[in-house]
């Protein structure tokens, strides 16, 4: 599937915001079916290789998980969770990485013009040339994805292999997946396939199976089939993610009010000067010799 031109839908810190939709381009998606993931971590290796990321020392945490959480040089991490569900024991595997939100909190928080862009196809990408490494995106993200790299002084995260997509290839992780639990394609098609999988799971003893495509963040480009869809938090996913309230309050309320306060101070002072002028001694007040105002 070729991604055509990478037209921008939204760009960080840009006045023109989201007014660039000239034509409707395909919106892509990556489907993660957690129920068929076997935890082989081929996707982790493929991601490291394709994106030429540095080797990160692994950490033994008592599970098969490579390291506790994502890293500036590790964008794709299979999380291993163990849980007793009633009489059963479940081993919950989930591929953690950027969800490529429809309403990206990282982009909302970013102060550097063009450092974070969302393409028309839905991919949220970082432009390292524009990134200033301020880490505000880390606070904006409801999924705890962006990582600051001490080596580059910039933020990094999964690009959904946008460079591969441009030449008609699927992302490296999808390419490497041996069970077909990862799929890449048109979002409408993949959502339909995902719902088929959910139906299958429901018929096979998982009545609560569901597709994770949270509306709070405008849907995600990366959609996830969860056997225990009523409990996304069991997989380490927030139940109802949205751009954090504090970030929205900061950007939408505090900032314009602050600008108003500054402009208000400036114009009141101008108004005061025009109304009252400079404060001088009253006419006729005694002024000793050589005691002039400067």
């Amino acid at each position: 599937m070729n991604l055509d031109a990478l037209e921008v839908r939204q760009s960080s810190a840009s006045a023109w915001g989201s007014k660039t939709e000239l034509r409707n381009l395909k919106v892509v998606s990556k489907l993660i079916d957690t129920s068929t993931c076997i935890g082989c971590k081929a996707c982790e290796v493929a991601c490291q290789e394709w994106n030429d990321l540095h080797i990160v020392p692994t950490t033994q945490t008592g599970t098969y998980q490579t390291m506790p959480s994502l890293d500036a040089n590790y964008w794709n991490l299979i999380q291993f969770r163990e849980r007793e569900i009633g009489p059963d024991f479940a081993w919950l595997l989930r591929k953690d990485g950027c969800m490529h939100c429809g309403d990206p909190g990282c982009l909302k928080a970013c102060p550097a013009p063009g450092a974070i862009v969302q393409y028309q196809n839905g991919i949220v990408d970082v432009n390292p040339d524009n990134c200033i490494g301020c880490k505000m995106c880390e606070t904006g993200c409801p999924f705890d994805i962006p990582r600051y790299s001490e080596q580059t002084g910039k933020m990094s995260k999964c690009t959904l292999c946008v460079d591969r997509g441009q030449v008609g290839l699927e992302p490296a992780c999808v390419k490497s997946c041996p069970t077909g639990c990862l799929e890449f394609g048109d979002k409408t098609d993949l959502a339909a396939r995902a719902n088929e999988r959910v139906e299958q799971l429901k018929q096979n003893g998982f009545p609560q199976a569901a597709l994770y495509d949270p509306p709070g963040v405008g849907g995600t480009t990366v959609i996830t089939v969860l056997a225990h869809g009523d409990h996304p938090e069991w997989y380490g996913l927030p139940k109802d993610p949205h751009v954090p309230d504090g970030v929205r309050f900061w950007k939408n309320i505090v900032r314009p009010l602050g600008a108003l306060a500054i402009a208000g101070a400036f114009f009141s002072m101008v108004g005061h000067y025009l109304s009252f002028g400079p404060k001088k001694p009253k006419e006729g007040a005694e002024t000793p010799k050589g005691d002039g105002q400067r």
């Binding site: 880490k135 880390e138 970030v247 002072m269 400079p278 050589g290 105002q293």
Partner: protein, 236 residues
């Protein structure tokens, strides 16, 4: 300026004048030394570091002021300079706080001055009856607000600056909100401060540059201080 003849009249040479300026609250010729050299240096250290923080921070604050980043070589440079300028600002503010804190305690006259009625009279130039000392109530409140603002900017700035893993999500969000709020109010306040110290009150700016003011300026703006320093009645 007609200062020189008066100095001769008092028998003071340039050297004596320079010595006199190292202290403050004393009459030299027909001028009063209001701020000693060290006080002025500390004030301008705060002002300089504030403006570096301001101009490196504004392009990060809003893309509409992104052109200001060009003053320093781009947004990347601003991002590197801003926190260090902030540290320098915090250090300078601390010095200023230590230097002036004891002089900024509110007297009953100051409390009257900072009531809405008192402020209105002040801005309408109808406060001849106010017995204003060396600093008026508004200046004192500016001092405390600047100290509080600098503290808020420093603490929230540290959270924003250091690696984010050190802090919880809520603390980071609160820090962005606090940093923005403190900055906006601080800048609005400084706009008023600059206006009152220059255009609105002629003769004031030199007190923080050369350190001296004229007697008539002191009589007009700080009558109680004038009485203290000269032993004369400000209004006869």
């Amino acid at each position: 300026m007609t200062r020189m003849p008066v100095v001769e009249q008092n028998g003071m040479g340039d050297a004596a004048m320079a010595r006199a300026r190292r202290t403050e609250d004393i009459v030299v010729g027909d001028e009063i030394v209001r701020e000693r050299l060290s006080a002025r240096v500390v004030h301008w250290s705060v002002a300089l570091t504030f403006f570096i923080c301001l101009f490196t921070g504004l392009p990060i604050w809003t893309p509409y002021l992104g052109f200001l980043a060009g003053l320093f070589g781009g947004l990347h440079v601003c991002r590197v300079l801003h926190p260090w300028a902030g540290v320098a600002f915090a250090v300078a503010s601390t010095l200023m706080f230590v230097q002036w804190a004891s002089q900024m305690l509110l007297t009953p006259a100051d409390r009257e001055f900072i009531t809405p009625r008192g402020m209105l009279k002040y801005f309408q130039y109808r406060n001849e009856d106010a017995d204003v000392g060396k600093y008026n109530g508004g200046q004192k409140m500016l001092f405390w607000a600047a100290g509080l603002g600098a503290l808020g900017l420093l603490l929230s700035g540290i959270v924003i600056w250091l690696p984010q893993e050190n802090f919880g999500q809520w603390l980071r969000q609160a820090s962005y909100i606090l940093h923005d709020t403190a900055f906006s109010l601080f800048f609005a306040m400084i706009i008023g401060h600059i206006y009152l110290g220059t255009a609105a009150e002629p003769g004031t700016f030199r007190s923080i540059v050369r350190g001296t003011v004229t007697k008539s300026w002191a009589r007009l703006h700080h009558p109680a201080w004038y009485r203290e320093v000269t032993g004369e009645q400000p209004r006869s």
